[in-house]
């Protein structure tokens, strides 16, 4: 086992797959010679050459569409979109093409494309470097959506995504690249090397897609979160001294409803926490599912915490971000309801 931060873990996943499968290619803006603006593909072009790790023109439409074409012709492209906020020029290619190719050709054509993209806030990136767009991908039929919360899962899930014959949107919470983040910007940064999930095997392994993980068992309530918010939720529960069960969703589509509902049936209380805007957010889908499955066991209305329903403002980063305070007051409301 090695100590890796999330960037190194993702790099290692691509390295392993480029080495194992000659069909794997990596492409995106600044990913080749430079190794990506977050250095996630650092060294890969030097190792595998310019035909396996491609710098592309600045066209997200072109990146997604050419990845589809390559995939149809037998390759396994791993495309990087520099920031999730810049994925929209490629959105039509994702929604109308990538997601539906298998369906409309009755399985004769399919495109095993993985699209990696950094998401989320907390880095003073303002409205165009902070978005969490998972819900607008979750609403499309035919595309898997994944968001890891730590280096171990990041590597294992990315390998699964690349090996998957279906297209996967792989969202990387960039605030977690260098260390876990509990939502308190004033605390000194903690590196992944100090965290159990910063222990990452060097070689090939997978973390299954479509499996949520119980990060911490508990009896009083279930907190369902993913990405950065897993860490924030844990800190908020600890601060309240609450024996909450915390579940890291990990895969948004297809959702592991079973793990979530089994937990809520035991605890009777459920809070859903994500960084994305709340209205029409993925939390609504989780809440609906939990309500359908666990209605008779619920002891309180299902709670939801998310970002405010505004663009992500530069100057109000920490007023916007759903930090420990917002999570804690939602938890208090959840526990006091009866």
């Amino acid at each position: 086992m090695a100590k890796m931060n999330m960037i190194q873990a993702l790099n290692s996943a691509m390295d392993v797959m480029l080495d194992r499968d000659p069909g794997v290619v990596v492409l995106g803006e600044d990913v080749g010679y430079f190794g990506g603006v977050f250095r996630t593909t650092d060294g890969l072009q030097r190792k595998y050459g310019e035909h396996r790790v491609l710098d592309t023109p600045i066209s997200e439409l072109g990146i997604v569409a050419s990845a589809i074409g390559m995939a149809v012709n037998g390759l396994r492209p791993v495309a990087e979109i520099q920031f999730a906020d810049y994925i929209y020029p490629g959105y039509d290619q994702i929604v109308s093409e990538l997601a539906r190719l298998r369906y409309r050709s009755a399985g004769e054509f399919y495109a095993p494309v993985t699209i990696r993209t950094p998401c989320g806030g907390g880095i003073r990136g303002g409205q165009t470097h902070s978005q969490s767009p998972e819900a607008i991908f979750a609403h499309i039929c035919g595309i898997k959506v994944v968001m890891p919360s730590n280096p171990y899962d990041a590597k294992g899930l990315l390998i699964s995504a690349i090996e998957d014959d279906d297209p996967v949107i792989f969202l990387e919470p960039k605030r977690l690249y260098n260390g876990p983040f509990d939502g308190d910007p004033d605390k000194p940064a903690v590196p992944w090397s100090a965290h159990a999930r910063g222990e990452v095997p060097e070689g090939h392994y997978t973390v299954p897609i479509s499996k949520a993980e119980i990060v911490r068992a508990g009896r009083d309530a279930t907190i369902i979160a993913y990405g950065t918010m897993v860490h924030v939720a844990e800190a908020a529960a600890n601060a309240l001294g609450l024996d909450a069960e915390i579940i890291d969703v990990r895969t948004i589509v297809p959702l592991d409803a079973e793990t979530l509902c089994e937990s809520v049936k035991r605890t009777g209380r459920c809070l859903i926490v994500h960084e994305a805007t709340r209205f029409g957010g993925f939390g609504a889908e989780i809440a609906a599912t939990v309500q359908e499955e666990c209605f008779w066991q619920l002891e309180a209305p299902i709670g939801r915490v998310g970002g405010w329903d505004t663009p992500y403002p530069h100057a109000f980063e920490w007023e916007y971000f759903p930090g420990q305070k917002r999570v804690a007051s939602a938890l208090e409301a959840l526990m006091s309801a009866s």
């Binding site: 803006e29 600044d30 010679y33 430079f34 603006v37 310019e50 035909h51 491609l54 710098d55 592309t56 023109p57 600045i58 066209s59 997200e60 439409l61 072109g62 906020d85 810049y86 929209y88 020029p89 003073r124 990136g125 303002g126 409205q127 165009t128 470097h129 709340r278 209205f279 405010w308 329903d309 505004t310 663009p311 403002p313 530069h314 100057a315 109000f316 007023e319 916007y320 305070k325 917002r326 007051s329």
Partner: protein, 413 residues
């Protein structure tokens, strides 16, 4: 044995990477004065020589030569020098304040000042500008007080964006400068729409827009070109070819086998390739294109050949992907130096006056900074009211946002 021909994946190569000697031999250059200046009614196809050649006015002896010389009065040139120098002094100072942690981010236009300044000066105040993030010179020409720009950079209580945008993403309705987007190339087809509206309304204002050569790979570029041609929109479409898009060389945007201006005639839009570091050439080409647009001739695609002398942004370290001193061998020189030398050669400027102007502008920028920081910085002093976060999402605040605003108030105690 003849080798069997087969397809191969071509990967554009920059002429030099770190550790290599800089090499700009790929640039197709022409001497100043080499390009004839056609009538504005020229057909798009006939502009191909202009689109593949290079319009230059200032020669190596600092004289203005050839048909494109706009014959500007020394006062106009001095004003141009002032605006470019102010842009540069401002950029340098703001870069330093970012390094000191006073602002979160900055992007300089070092080496590209003429592209914005000369064009803005050659247009009329009623013409609408759709910039990218590297066109601060437009603000210098149109005279926005520096304090107002700085307050935006500081996200402070006088921030024109009310704290919502990253530094540099200015806007100025009164000055006819559109809001800058973080998403590349979106403004390019929007400028076309603005110009279409001017034509629909029967006004003779034109629109002008700037994108980097890297950004010209986006689909928005294609849409803009098609709409501009179809409706013969009165618009100036500028591609600022500063050779680099972060670490990506211009060959990756299509500049290896053709020029960017040459795309114009393919769309039925006249194309002109201009020395972007030559204030006079940019001015003259702008006048020509604006005149064309106002006379019903439609759009012009202008490629400015220049060099991004600064890092992409304060988050970037260009020594990782290009030779450190590449700018020193850039064959088209520095726009400020070239205009300065031209004025000196004309007897309309001196080194002493230049030094005095530099000092004056530095003092102006320094004083403005002092004034701006009184209204707060990102981390100190008075702060914007977080309630502002919920305003302007819609014209009227819907109930769910009002509830969230109240919730935040409670959260903040």
């Amino acid at each position: 044995m003849p080798s069997r021909l087969r397809s191969r994946l071509h990967v554009p190569k920059p002429p030099a990477r770190p550790g290599n000697k800089s090499d700009f031999s790929y640039l197709k250059l022409q001497p100043a004065g080499a390009q004839p200046k056609p009538d504005v009614r020229i057909s798009a196809q006939a502009t191909l020589p202009l689109a593949t050649g290079l319009v230059r006015v200032l020669d190596d002896n600092h004289s203005a030569v050839g048909a494109w010389d706009p014959h500007l009065e020394p006062e106009v040139l001095q004003a141009g020098l002032r605006h470019m120098l102010l842009t540069r002094v401002f950029d340098e100072r703001m870069q330093r304040t970012q390094r000191q942690g006073r602002i979160s981010f900055y992007m300089r236009s070092y080496g590209e000042e003429a592209v914005s300044v000369a064009q803005a000066m050659a247009l009329r105040p009623g013409d609408m500008l759709f910039p990218s993030y590297r066109n601060q010179g437009l603000y210098m020409v149109r005279g926005r007080p520096l304090v107002e720009l700085m307050c935006q950079l500081l996200s402070n209580t006088r921030d024109m964006c009310k704290g919502r945008q990253l530094p540099v993403m200015y806007h100025w309705r009164q000055g006819n400068i559109f809001s800058i987007s973080g998403n590349l190339t979106t403004q390019f087809p929007q400028a076309v729409g603005w110009a279409m509206a001017a034509a629909i309304k029967g006004e003779d204002h034109v629109a002008s827009t700037w994108i980097g050569e890297g950004s010209s790979a986006e689909g928005d570029f294609h849409a803009g070109m098609v709409f501009a041609e179809v409706y013969q929109a009165p618009v100036l479409l500028n591609i600022v070819n500063n050779q680099w898009a972060i670490s990506t060389f211009q060959g990756f945007a299509g500049g290896e086998k053709s020029t960017f201006a040459a795309r114009g005639p393919g769309y039925g839009v006249p194309g002109i390739r201009v020395d972007g570091n030559d204030f006079l050439a940019v001015y003259a080409v702008t006048q020509w294109a604006a005149d064309r647009a106002r006379k019903g001739g439609g759009p012009t695609l202008i490629e400015h050949v220049t060099y991004r002398a600064a890092a992409h942004s304060t988050s970037d370290d260009p020594s990782r992907y290009r030779p450190k001193d590449e700018y020193l061998s850039w064959p088209l020189g520095d726009p400020v130096d070239r205009l300065k030398e031209h004025l000196i050669a004309q007897g309309a400027w001196t080194e002493e006056r230049h030094a005095a102007l530099t000092k004056e502008l530095e003092d102006e920028v320094g004083a403005s900074w002092k004034a701006a920081t009184q209204y707060g910085t990102l981390n100190e002093g008075p702060r914007l009211d977080p309630d502002l976060m919920f305003e302007d999402v819609f014209k009227d605040m819907p109930a769910h946002l009002a509830r969230q605003r109240d919730q935040l108030r409670a959260e903040r105690g």
